[in-house]
């Protein structure tokens, strides 16, 4: 595992910030709060760690509340894990890093929401997922669920955002910034709106039809999966992943299984790797077809919506034959897959590949080449490469902005290092590139499957695993290339049969955080196109 192979070099440099290295799991540097901000600045500016892969709030009990940061240098591919904690449980505060990595903005709000950690200098310290009048912080180990019975009162959302600033004597002051001015024309798009792909809510300030500011509200489908995982044994946690991003059920579960297998030190057979890879790619095609359908539907071209669903059913047919499920596949298990592939699987996939290739032309004829579609997509919602990295907008969105962020190439897993495929990278960063990346990725996925399908090696489809799985102490992070970006799983184990903390790196949260940046001064119709091409899935954002 070449997770942090540059450690010796960094170790000496981080020593200046009193960082303590711990070997457990992937290993990480523990940095005290006092020097954390400086260390972060050093890593960002001099270390070149420009991509915040994941920010995980933690409740370490006696050791206080803290955060784990996974960083990556996108030019060299180096990785580093740093952590910090404040021992004061009642009034924990950490320095904010939202200005170093824009993606930290929503992630810090999430940590505040779940753990009550106040981030000093963060401009908008509101809750992210839960209601503003929620009592307590649910992911803390001492949270009492009886505090919050079902509240059917309509939610009164705050009109201003609080922020905390540190004074030299160690206390802090609370400031409040209004979100919108009195005279602004603010409309709610969502939570029940046909084009938000679920229950996301945008408060949009308009001037005529032009968007001035967007304030996203998440949490309408926040199910507390991470907390539920803490009370489940490792095999039980698998069930939740399918329901995170239901269009990437295979990939999500693959990531969690990989993470647990890595922690167990279990090497799975080639057959399993092949099957998982093919399944991931089928799932990707399924998801991208749905992407095309929904984008077309949002833009009013209903015919393409139905074409997409027609072809998607073919993929589902193949998946269903082996797994028995259409959306929720429940296929990967720890150390293998649930059942061997169906005898007709290979034949069906081989029939599907040329079918799908021929049908791609139909999409190009009707939608890609359509003058209105091009007019609306080209040049709208431009996300620059720097912003994409800073926000951590991975997947098709990042690649459309010129950032080669494919996990399949960056940190190969499965059998991706043994197949020949091209990472689609476009450079315009507009809606049309985001669309084209996905369309071309369908073709790449077909290519990958074509190479694998005839060579599935013999072997067992399920490794021998103990009935009760216990992971050693430590923390691990594994990522796969989900249908819409890097889907990561972070597990911290304290040697129990339950995980101490599970965090899923949502693929959609960074995408939502960049909506405000890229749709300023666009029209309402553009917001719909931008939302469509960013391709987020709300249950994956809210978890």
């Amino acid at each position: 595992m070449k997770y942090m192979d540059n450690i010796i070099d960094i170790k000496s440099k981080l020593a200046a910030f009193d960082a303590v290295w711990s070997e457990k799991g992937d290993g990480r540097f523990m940095i005290p709060v006092s020097s954390f901000r400086k260390a972060a600045e050093f890593l960002r500016n001099e270390g070149g760690f420009d991509f915040l892969r994941s920010l995980t709030g933690m409740d370490w009990g006696e050791d206080g509340l803290g955060c784990v940061y996974h960083l990556e240098n996108t030019s060299t591919g180096e990785n580093i894990v740093i952590a910090t904690a404040d021992r004061n449980r009642d009034d924990a505060n950490l320095p904010s890093v939202h200005d170093l990595w824009k993606g930290a903005n929503l992630n810090e709000r999430e940590a505040y929401d779940f753990f009550g950690i106040k981030f000093m200098g963060h401009p908008d310290m509101r809750r992210l997922f839960l209601r503003d009048d929620w009592k307590g912080h649910p992911l803390r180990k001492d949270y009492d669920p009886s505090l919050n019975p079902l509240n059917m009162e309509n939610e009164v959302a705050d009109d201003d955002a609080p922020s905390y600033e540190m004074t030299p004597d160690g206390s802090y002051i609370l400031k409040r910034h209004p979100l919108f001015n009195e005279e602004e024309y603010v409309i709610n798009i969502g939570p029940q709106h046909p084009a938000t792909h679920g229950v996301l809510r945008f408060c949009v300030s308009l001037e005529g039809e032009t968007i001035k500011k967007i304030d996203p509200h998440c949490g309408y489908i926040h199910r507390g999966i991470e907390k539920l995982c803490e009370a489940s044994t490792y095999p039980q946690t698998l069930g939740f992943t399918d329901r995170l991003d239901y269009l990437g059920a295979m990939q999500n579960r693959h990531a969690l299984c990989m993470c647990i297998e890595k922690a167990m030190g279990l090497q799975v057979s080639d057959r399993i790797q092949y099957i998982r890879t093919i399944m991931d790619e089928l799932q990707r095609i399924d998801s991208h077809l749905l992407f095309i359908s929904c984008l077309a539907q949002d833009m009013g071209a209903l015919e393409v919506f139905f074409l997409g669903f027609r072809d998607r059913e073919k993929v589902l047919e193949i998946l269903e034959q082996t797994t028995g499920g259409r959306l929720i596949q429940t296929y990967n298990t720890i150390g293998g897959v649930q059942a061997d592939i169906h005898p007709g699987f290979v034949k069906k996939v081989k029939e599907f590949i040329p079918y799908m290739r021929s049908k791609m032309n139909e999409y190009h004829d009707i939608f890609t080449g359509n003058v209105i579609a091009r007019k609306r997509l080209i040049g709208t919602g431009v996300l620059s490469r720097e912003d994409a990295i800073s926000f951590g907008a991975t997947g098709g969105t990042g690649r459309a902005s010129g950032w080669a962020c494919d996990v399949r190439k960056r940190h190969p897993y499965g059998v991706y290092d043994r197949v020949d495929f091209q990472e689609i990278v476009l450079h315009d960063g507009d809606c049309f590139s985001r669309y084209m990346v996905r369309v071309k990725e369908i073709e790449e996925s077909l290519k990958i499957m074509e190479q694998l399908i005839d060579n599935i090696p013999e072997g067992e489809y399920q490794m021998k695993v103990k009935p009760v799985i216990k992971l050693p102490e430590g923390s691990w992070y594994s990522a796969v290339e989900g249908s819409r970006g890097e889907f990561g799983v972070f597990i911290e184990s304290h040697g129990d049969k339950f995980p101490y903390r599970v965090k899923f790196r949502s693929t959609g949260l960074p995408l939502v955080s960049c909506v405000d940046t890229i749709s300023r001064n666009a029209k309402i119709a553009d917001l719909i196109a931008i939302g469509g091409t960013l391709d987020y899935v709300i249950p994956d954002i809210d978890r």
Binding site: Y185, I187, H193, P194, A195, L206, E209, A296, Q297, D298, M299, G300, A301, L302, E303, F305, F306, L307, R310, I366, F367, N370, I372, A373, K375, R376, K523, I524, A525, D526, I528
Partner: protein, 358 residues
């Protein structure tokens, strides 16, 4: 071609022989009104059914097929449903305008519908400035839509109404210009006259280049005029949930829904009337046998065939094209269609003056 005027005249003489003329005319007006409304409803039902089946065919589906043969009375079910649905009163809405708006839209639609010559002698409103009257009557609908959006006290509705205001008023211009092109060619504004002049050849053939351009402009602008995709911004489902009629329920919504479909028919039938010869059969000079066969087909069949062909064309466009953005819609109108329309009008004048048409 059979002249329905014979029947209507016969009825008129029969009635006047029985009663004073004023009463006879009154009774005739009532009968005609009832017939008009009946025809309106029938056309609406056919249009909605057609829309469903056509879009289903484009979308690899079957469409309604459980109620009646091939689902043909599906729309009747919808009518019962609509009639029995609650009409919600919105608090803080302007009640008078809110209730008035759907009726304004439907009145505009019915009046415009009455202008269409269906067959020889089957014109309801037919006088020497029929074209002007038609343009004026169909524009009343805009007021209804604006009022609906304004009075509902909903931000989505308001945006929808503003969009429709900007869009429909702009495109009215292009519709007018392209109709005007044909008026220049025919030097009459009476629909029945326009049709009669096409006895020896439809205007799209007679007026050749400028007429074809006008026809295309008319189709685009007409489509925008009735808020159909790709110009369905005022009710853009994925942007504004339901646009100006977001807050309307029950039959109020039903009226908007019906008016939309009949307006589509009206626009198509006007296109058929002024470009494709209305109820005039297809005549090819010199082929007398062929012309005689064509003449045997009744006029109203010709008319409906042409009108529904254009309806089908517009439906095809709607279900295939994505929606335009508001600024693109206005750019298309003011920077392309209006200048082209004006130049085309000039071209037509040249054609007419130098007798270059057939």
């Amino acid at each position: 071609m059979f002249d329905f005027g014979i029947i209507t005249n016969w009825i008129h003489t029969q009635l006047t022989s029985l009663m004073p003329e004023a009463l006879a005319i009154f009774i005739e007006c009532v009968i005609i009104g009832i017939c008009l409304l009946l025809l309106y409803v029938i056309i609406a039902i056919i249009m909605i059914y057609m829309e469903r089946k056509v879009c289903a065919a484009f979308q690899c589906r079957l469409g309604p097929n459980r109620v009646g043969p091939w689902g043909s009375i599906q729309v009747i079910c919808d009518v019962f449903k609509m009639l029995t649905k609650e009409i919600i009163t919105i608090r803080h809405s302007d009640k008078m305008l809110y209730n008035l708006a759907p009726y304004l839209v439907i009145i505009a639609s019915v009046t415009a519908f009455a202008c269409i010559p269906i067959s020889r002698g089957l014109e309801i409103l037919d006088f020497n400035v029929g074209v002007l009257f038609f343009m004026a009557a169909s524009s009343i609908g805009i007021i209804g839509i604006l009022l609906a959006g304004w009075s509902s006290n909903s931000k989505f509705s308001l945006i929808g109404a503003m969009r429709s205001g900007a869009q429909m008023i702009s495109y009215e211009l292009s519709v007018g210009l392209s109709i005007l092109t044909i008026v220049v060619l025919t030097d009459t504004m009476q629909f029945s006259e326009i049709v009669m002049r096409q006895a020896d050849g439809w205007f799209i053939f007679k007026g050749h280049i400028p007429a074809v351009i006008a026809f295309i402009i008319y189709l685009i602008a007409g489509n925008a005029e009735v808020n159909r995709g790709p110009f369905d911004l005022p009710e853009a489902e994925s942007e504004l949930t339901a646009g100006y009629h977001t807050e309307y329920s029950g039959m109020h919504f039903g009226l908007f829904y019906v008016a939309e479909f009949v307006n589509l028919f009206v626009i198509s039938s006007i296109a058929a009337t002024i470009f494709l010869g209305g109820w005039m059969p297809l005549h090819i000079p010199g082929l007398d046998g062929f012309n005689a066969v064509m003449d045997a087909i009744p006029g109203f069949i010709w008319f409906f065939a042409k009108a529904f062909f254009i309806v089908w064309l517009l439906m095809w466009i709607k279900w295939t094209f994505p929606r335009l953005r508001i600024d693109q819609i206005l750019t298309l109108e003011w920077k392309y269609l209006v200048p082209i329309g004006l130049l085309n009008l000039l071209l037509m004048v040249v054609v007419v003056v130098f007798k270059l048409h057939f």
